[in-house]
């Protein structure tokens, strides 16, 4: 069922300024899989997401990251995007005066250009956008509004998932896509994520809570603590965490029974 190793992280260390946040992280994500990365605040989950997408603020000091066997760390963010990396932001930015759909079409055509494909014309793009907006129950009026400007928290998250559905990334990293969502919004976002799920793609859900995982059932669950993955298991691990909390993860080297993948 599982495909080849799409994303491979080995011994990744990264810091912000003088503070080391990722301290030798290993992770393999195969095509077709959905992984959940859970863990307490400050464990390095969002840093991992930012490092994978190429955010400047993080400095990688050791380790390797490959996508389809090719180095990712040496590439600027836009090239990573063209290779199929998508980051769903925890806090999507607002850009006044730039239309939501205009932005997305520019992005899609930039990605296509990066892959040597022809740009999608306005009519084909609109048809595609309409279909995907329906998927996340985003009102068509959002298309012409300024990017994320004045959107509610839930609308911003739906917009992220909408963008993901249009851009069809190979590796989608969704950073706390569930935070601040009510149960209806959570259901809609989950449906969007499920729609992107497919044998050629992989999804990494960075989340604090297990409730998202009731809707998007992960193949693998990891627990991060102190800048490393300290435990890996199936989806039952998420439930267990819901019961026990993360207190244990604070202790370095704590051993909890569970399957550890290479």
């Amino acid at each position: 069922m599982s495909g080849h190793a799409l994303l491979e992280i080995r011994g990744l260390r990264a810091r912000v300024g003088e503070t080391e946040i990722l301290k030798g992280l290993d992770l393999t994500v195969r095509a077709g899989e959905v992984h959940a990365i859970m863990g307490p605040n400050g464990s390095g989950k969002s840093t991992l997401a930012g490092v994978l997408a190429g955010r400047d603020a993080y400095q990688v000091t050791a380790g390797t990251v490959t996508l389809d066997g090719q180095d990712l760390l040496g590439l600027p963010p836009e090239t990573r995007a063209a290779r199929g990396v998508f980051l769903g932001f925890q806090y999507p930015v607002e850009i006044p005066g730039v239309g939501n759909l205009y932005f997305l079409r520019t992005a899609l055509n930039a990605l296509r250009a990066g892959r040597g494909e022809e740009p999608l014309d306005a009519i084909d793009f609109l048809a595609l956008a309409k279909e995907k907006m329906k998927l996340v129950e985003l009102d068509p009026a959002f298309g012409s509004r300024s990017l994320n400007e004045g959107f509610s928290g839930g609308e911003k998250k739906r917009n992220e998932v909408f963008q993901m559905a249009v851009l069809e990334p190979r590796l989608a990293i969704l950073d706390e896509i569930d935070s601040g969502l009510d149960i209806d919004a959570l259901r809609v976002v989950s449906r969007g994520v499920e729609a992107v799920r497919g044998p050629a793609r992989a999804i990494v859900l960075v989340t604090h809570y297990q409730r998202l995982l009731d809707h998007v059932v992960p193949d693998v669950v990891h627990v991060m603590a102190g800048g490393r993955i300290v435990r890996t298991g199936g989806r039952e691990l998420a439930r267990e965490l819901e019961q026990t909390g993360y207190a244990w993860a604070g202790e370095r080297g704590a051993t909890i029974p569970g399957e550890v993948r290479p």
């Binding site: 190429g54 995007a81 932005f103 520019t106 992005a107 899609l108 930039a110 300024s146 851009l167």
Partner: protein
Amino acid sequence: MTTAQQLKELTEQRYRYGFVTDVEADAVPPGLSEEIIRLISRKKGEPEFMLAWRLRAYHHWLGLEAPTWAHLRIAPIDYQSIVYYSAPRSKKPLGSLEEVDPEVKRAFEKLGIPLEEQLRLAGVAVDAVFDSVSVATTYKERLAEKGIVFCSFSEAVREHPALVEEHLGSVVPATDNFFAALNSAVFSDGSFVYVPRGVRCPMELSTYFRINAKDTGQFERTLIVADEGAQVSYLEGCTAPMRDENQLHAAVVELVARDGAQIKYSTVQNWYPGDAEGRGGIYNFVTKRGTAHRGAKISWTQVETGSAITWKYPSVILLGDDSVGEFHSVALTNHLQQADTGTKMIHVGKNTRSTIVSKGISAGRGQNAYRGLVKIAKGAAGARNHSQCDSLLIGDRCGAHTFPTIEVRNPTATVEHEATTSKISEDQLFYCRQRGISEEDAVSMIVNGFARQVLKELPMEFAVEAQKLLGLSLEGSVG
């Protein structure tokens, strides 16, 4: 990140209109004197009233000092080293397309302004001004059918002297200010528009200004008169070669909107801005003003991306009751460019309304100032103004400044002023890049979004051009 090498290439490439056309010129010797003014007037075959008007302006100018109140650093200008008149030489009088020097025609083609009507954008008539003279005006006959006069200023002086004499200097007097007085003394050409009562001009009118000759100043004058109930939309564009010396462009634009008339005046200003080290570029010192009579509307829209220095304040005198004035501006300064620009809205009539939207963008070491005056006269009961001044900073070596002045002498008036300053954030850039959009394109997109409120006021054909121009002008501003 953009490397130093890429940055260098981009800044050197960014001005696409910097070429020089090799054309034989008929120029007067450098320097300014009564003799030179008489010579210019003679070359243009002007009636006596024009020469007298020029000389009055000149003698007034001699007693004036260049203004120093703007937030600008201006190197001293030697007015005796400037050539005040330069025209491409031609055997026959200019005006008909067949007479235009092929080199000049080619220059305009290179600028995307083909002078052959069949090649032009449908629905846009053009007056092409090359250095000191208008070389061609398109669609004149079609406009004449409606009684609309659209021609070079020189031709208007010859063919419609009464109209010119009535309105010349009626909005911007020859003695108005240092640069307006200089222009009045030596102006060589420009465009003239007259739209008769009740006529709605069926196409966009535009003038394209091109400076070509070295050491030459361009002093053009535009006069637009919209008679009662008439409507006209006018656009001007401008470019110049890349040179290490500064060149002076001191223009005057006068608009007269009679009762119920509407004039929409748009500018896309792309004079050579100088290089990345601030060498060369045009000094753009312009006086623009309109008088709006009862129920009339004057709307200024400007996109200012070029020039080493921009000093201009397109204004409206809201003379008649219920008249409306608008000012929509985007001014962009990159590298060492400086701009001090804004507007004056002078409310005289009752229930007059004005709107000011100013978007200043500063990048590199650019300095950008908004300077505005909203004046409500005693009799302007019920007058309203809304001003919005937004500044966007790119990088940390540029500056944005706002100098609004509000004078209210009528207690029933409403005046509102809003101002914001923002920066393009790292988060915005990263978000765009994560979606696959390069940093340069992201900056251009964010800037265009910032300016959208103004850009949408431009005639459609030019809005796209202006958008591209904003992107081009910013190249080399990030990294």
